[in-house]
């Protein structure tokens, strides 16, 4: 494993695997995350994985920075970079267009496509969850077709409902909670990405693959009753 160590503030140690968005780098971050999740070193407060880095907050009462560096180096020696990697594929139903996706027409016009072509391109992609951040359960996804890219809205909406699926530049994403935001909204999913009362509050994890599929407005509204277990 190739990496560099840096302090982040006075209680963070940042492990840097690279400086690009790259599935191979993501996989290394993922390996270290899984190892930390399983082993939970006593000196660790928590870990925060990102695109190409993983930061560990540590107990300054236990270790100096120099000491924690030694711990991290020996810990990383235990990780086999070639260890097999099980990737989860998560299917996300989306009701495209209409009131739930008010900007679908804009995205189509902007790219000189029909609405159906946009939906087809969005549902045929395979998206890698690089990291979770910005808001609880918000996935940073890679792998969207550049043919459906669209600029952010000039003035952000004050309230974007939870479950909204949007496009901003070359990225697509899902808003897990109601928040303000400037993304072009093309649809909405009835699946709850973040539910604090669930044992695993966050549906998606870094390293997951996402596939979107299209559902009707009626299916969207019936989802809650049919899939109670999935959401609660």
């Amino acid at each position: 494993m190739d990496y560099h160590l840096h302090p982040l503030g006075e209680r963070g140690i940042l492990i840097e695997f690279g400086s690009q968005i790259d599935p191979k780098i993501q996989q290394q971050v993922q390996l270290v995350s899984s190892f930390l999740e399983k082993n939970q070193p006593e000196w660790m407060i928590e870990y925060i994985p990102a695109f190409a880095t993983i930061t560990i907050l540590y107990r300054v009462t236990a270790f100096t920075y120099r000491e924690v560096c030694q711990e991290v180096v020996s810990l990383l020696e235990h990780i086999n970079p070639a260890s097999p990697h099980q990737q989860r594929v998560v299917q996300i139903p989306v009701c495209y267009g209409g009131e739930l996706g008010p900007d679908l027409d804009f995205v189509a016009t902007h790219n000189q496509l029909t609405v159906d072509e946009v939906i087809h391109k969005h549902t045929s992609g395979s998206y890698l969850v690089y990291m979770i951040g910005f808001a609880p359960g918000f996935p940073y996804l890679g792998g969207m077709s550049e043919k459906i890219a669209a600029p952010r809205k000039q003035s952000p909406r004050l309230r974007i409902p939870a479950g909204s699926v949007g496009i901003a530049g070359m990225q697509t994403g899902i808003y897990p909670i109601e928040t303000p935001g400037g993304w072009q909204l093309i649809g909405r999913t009835p699946v709850e990405l973040f539910q604090p009362n669930r044992e695993e509050p966050c549906l998606l994890k870094p390293g997951d693959r996402i596939h979107f599929y299209s559902i009707s407005l009626q299916e969207y509204h019936e989802w809650g009753q049919k899939h109670h277990d999935f959401n609660s």
């Binding site: 006075e10 407060i45 928590e46 925060i48 990102a50 300054v60 609880p136 897990p176």
Partner: protein, 322 residues
């Protein structure tokens, strides 16, 4: 139980924060001034992490439905009972049906009210802290409102002893010292410090910055000279922490605070050291800041010293009310 008669400007229930879920994008939150929060709890015999009530600039009016042991720390928002000023930084007995009022802000920005026995609310993801943005934690995931009736928890042995003594001897004449404000806020260099121009690196330590009104529990936006990068640089989002100073594209520094997002994509010029965050948390829009650099080792030593202070204070309270 306590009843909120007037909520004040921004009154929330906070503990020491929600750790362990930043990997899921969940903000840590928690008390802005953890020093005052911890002292307030220690003074009434609570665990340091017990939820307290954080009030901002304009405090609340609160009625007590039972005799209660409380402590008020942090910024001075002129607390009174029956029109008499209430001393801060010591345990105080409040009688059944008395009304605790906070008035104008005399110094600081945030006041902490601890209640012996704590507040009886469920923890969400391991913490009682209010995270209003996601409508979770605290009291129904929101700031307190008039009419809220908040149940209190059961007193631990130490709290009972303190309460008995204050009951028979009267409120103590002693108090513990507040965290004294310093003329400088100490920082350590950030990961992208070297990416700033030489002039901007100097400006960080030589100029005065002012906290703008666009500041809140998420972060303090500062005005002052623009801090510029040598070269425009695209950065990938990565972890940030309480006290991280990011510089936005227009050259303005933002100090990330309790309700910060878990990751950030702006260059980090510096980090405010933990020992000085409580001083920063008591500053308000309009206040001026100067930064001074310390080494990482010194910042960590100061943090350990502060931890030692808390264990000594706890021990002293235990001995005094044994």
């Amino acid at each position: 139980m306590i009843s909120i008669l007037k909520p004040g400007l921004l009154t929330t229930i906070q503990d020491l924060g929600r750790y362990g879920y930043q990997k899921d994008g969940v903000v840590v939150g928690g008390a802005m001034d953890t020093y005052s929060h911890r002292v307030a709890n220690i003074l009434v015999g609570n665990d340091e992490n017990a939820p307290t009530i954080e009030m901002t600039l304009i405090g609340a009016t609160i009625q007590f439905s039972r005799d209660s042991l409380i402590a008020i720390t942090g910024g001075n928002l002129s607390p009174t009972i029956d029109n008499k000023r209430l001393p801060m930084w010591r345990p105080i007995l409040i009688r059944k049906n008395q009304i605790l009022r906070f008035g104008e802000c005399i110094d600081g920005c945030r006041s902490y009210l601890s209640l012996a026995g704590g507040i009886r609310i469920p923890k969400v993801l391991g913490s009682a802290s209010t995270y209003a943005h996601a409508k979770m934690g605290g009291w129904h995931g929101r700031p307190l409102e008039a009419g809220d009736q908040i149940p209190l928890g059961d007193l631990q042995e130490l709290s009972k002893k303190i309460m008995e003594e204050v009951h028979s001897e009267g409120n103590p004449k002693w108090s513990v010292p507040p965290r004294i404000a310093t003329p400088f806020i100490r920082v350590i260099k950030g990961r992208e410090f070297q990416a700033f121009t030489r002039e901007s690196q100097d400006l960080l330590f030589k100029s005065e910055f002012q906290i703008t009104p666009a500041s809140d529990r998420m972060g303090y936006r500062l005005s002052g000279p623009a801090l510029l990068l040598k070269d425009k640089k695209e950065m990938l989002s990565e972890a940030v922490d309480f006290g991280t100073i990011q510089v936005t594209s227009d050259g303005k520094p933002v100090i990330l605070l309790a309700d910060r997002q878990t990751t950030g994509g702006y260059p980090k010029i510096a980090h405010v050291i933990s020992a000085d965050l409580p001083i920063l948390a008591q500053m308000k829009p309009g206040d001026r800041i100067r930064f001074r650099e310390v080494a990482l080792e010194e910042a960590q030593a100061l943090l350990r010293e502060q931890e030692r202070y808390f264990s000594i204070l706890k021990r002293l309270i235990e001995l005094k009310f044994r």
